[in-house]
């Protein structure tokens, strides 16, 4: 990101502050009932309590974040490790692509959450189930974008490498993988978003360790703490925002050539 002067970026925060103030005002004026949608001040209070006391008491916010992040990174990481090589292969070979087509297109429409019962049957309730479900959600965006990325590489680039003596290995490592990288990044950003969405829903169904942001939000619902529900949602949003910013920074660095 080019990132202009600091003052310019602060200027972008102004509308956010304005919306927060409006929201606060609507609560204070009694137009939005506090027990339905608590105002920002109450949400921040709830957030402070989540950090200091934890929910359930003793289970601090950092622990919830760490557990959720671990699951997302595990699932998305596994998806990257499988989907990128497979996508490069399928992008290169039309025959393999048509062989894989029915499998991909039959599996892809099944929502990751529909796999929850099977995941629990296979892996029990716990991290492995969550990682598996996130893997399924993250897998297809990466796979399809990698294939599209390979297909977008000009034939001339591949041929010039072949004429310089490139074998299969060189072709994959020096032409196909770097050429598909912009599209892979698009896939990863979508995959992380899907992974994050899938995670929270997966955690709603139960976790064994007692940690996880989805689990924390469900606990807040059980004790009727709307402020902590919203605070948990806010944390999820902020982490998602931060991850996306990290990916974009990596993208900007790796794709300087564009």
């Amino acid at each position: 990101m080019s990132g202009g002067p600091r003052s310019y970026r602060l200027l972008h925060l102004l509308p956010v502050v304005a919306v927060a103030l409006l929201w606060e005002g609507l609560g204070a004026a009694g137009i939005v009932p506090e027990n339905r949608l608590p105002p920002p001040s109450r949400v921040l209070g709830g957030l402070a309590e989540l950090i200091s006391r934890g929910l359930p008491p003793g289970s601090g916010l950092l622990g919830h974040c760490a557990a959720s992040l671990r699951r997302v990174l595990g699932g998305v990481g596994a998806a990257l490790a499988v989907a990128i090589p497979l996508g490069l292969l399928l992008g290169r070979s039309a025959r393999l692509r048509s062989l894989a087509h029915p499998f991909v297109e039959l599996t892809r429409p099944i929502p990751p959450l529909a796999w929850v019962p099977l995941a629990i049957l296979w892996f029990g309730i716990g991290d492995l189930s969550a990682v598996f479900i996130i893997f399924l959600g993250a897998f297809f965006p990466i796979l399809l974008n990698t294939i599209a990325g390979v297909l977008s590489i000009e034939r001339g680039l591949v041929e010039s490498a072949v004429l310089l003596g490139a074998g299969r290995r060189d072709l994959f490592l020096k032409v196909l993988a770097p050429g598909a990288t912009p599209a892979i990044f698009t896939g990863v950003r979508i995959a992380v978003g899907v992974g994050w969405m899938t995670l929270v829903a997966a955690e709603f169904t139960g976790v064994k360790s007692g940690y996880g942001l989805g689990y924390m939000i469900m606990t807040a619902r059980d004790i009727q703490r709307a402020d902590q529900i919203v605070a948990g949602m806010l944390v999820i949003g902020l982490i998602g925002f931060a991850i996306d910013a990290l990916i974009r920074a990596a993208e900007g660095r790796l794709l300087r050539w564009r």
Partner: protein, 275 residues
């Protein structure tokens, strides 16, 4: 002979009706070691197909290509290939692009860099090692592509209208760079172009292609020593001869196309009909 092309034929199935159309109708020629053969012909006459077959990117229906007595069966490092659109890898800097073939050959980093730098110097493109392709001009890209091909030391270099997309000043200067390079490396070159000026300025031999199907219509030895005077009487005489040949070919092509278009009523002269 460094390169021998013997009776190469190629037909393609049409996309729309599936009827096979003969593109190359038995092309034969030979290029002595260290010579520049220019292949001159109208656009769409199959020059690119010919080069792709010589490069081993496509197989001929009939005939064969020999590079140094060995038949070409697929792409190989002995044959370099430069296209009109430079095919530099956009994610590699100029230097790393030139190193590509050497990297594939497994040369160590230091040696690679040395050879790549030497060839960049040879094509007069020094000082842009760390630039990405998008940051340099079309002419510079072609120089880099030339350096990349030469770096692996090919026996034969094929050039498919490499300077067609450049402005005439840049084209002239790149032609001179190419001659300079050829003087140093003595690489045998097959240079495809539709530009008569370019053909007579560069070629030791100019092959004029006929259209539909393409064959070698005439082979002209240029026989003018370098450096050549672009506007001198020798090149002008050659130019005149080649232009006359091309005009004749166009005439023939038009006449051949006119038959189906005017239907069954036989051939009538389109000019008298509309004039």
């Amino acid at each position: 002979m460094d390169l021998v092309v013997e009776g190469v034929e190629k037909a393609f199935a049409g996309v729309a009706n599936g009827a096979r159309r003969t593109i190359l109708g038995g092309v034969s020629f030979a290029a002595p070691a260290g010579s520049i053969v220019c292949v001159l012909g109208p656009s769409g006459c199959g020059k690119t197909t010919l080069l792709r077959i010589i490069a081993g990117l496509e197989a001929p229906d009939r005939g064969r290509v020999l590079v140094g007595e060995r038949e070409v069966a697929g792409p190989q490092r002995e044959i370099g290939y430069i296209t009109q659109e430079p095919t530099l890898l956009p994610w590699r800097t100029v230097l790393h692009n030139v190193e590509l073939g050497l990297e594939i050959a497994g040369l160590p980093g230091g040696e690679r860099r040395e050879i790549a730098r030497h060839h960049l110097e040879l094509v007069e493109l020094s000082g842009f090692d760390d630039y990405y392709p998008k940051q340099i001009s079309g002419g510079m890209k072609q120089k880099a592509a030339l350096a990349r091909s030469l770096a692996v030391g090919p026996r034969v270099l094929l050039l498919d209208e490499p300077f067609a997309a450049l402005d005439s000043q840049t084209r002239n200067s790149l032609q001179e760079v190419l001659l300079h390079v050829q003087g140093c490396t003595r690489t045998t070159m097959v240079f495809v172009t539709h530009n008569v000026d370019e053909a007579v300025f560069l070629g030791d031999t100019v092959l004029c292609m006929t259209a539909h199907p393409a064959q070698v219509g005439r082979s002209v030895a240029v026989g003018v020593p370098h450096p050549r005077d672009r506007t001198g009487p020798e090149l002008n005489a050659l130019r005149k001869e080649l232009l006359a040949f091309l005009a004749e070919e166009r005439q023939k092509a038009r006449a051949a196309e006119a038959v189906p278009r005017l239907g069954r009523g036989g051939r009538r002269d389109a000019c008298t009909e509309w004039g």
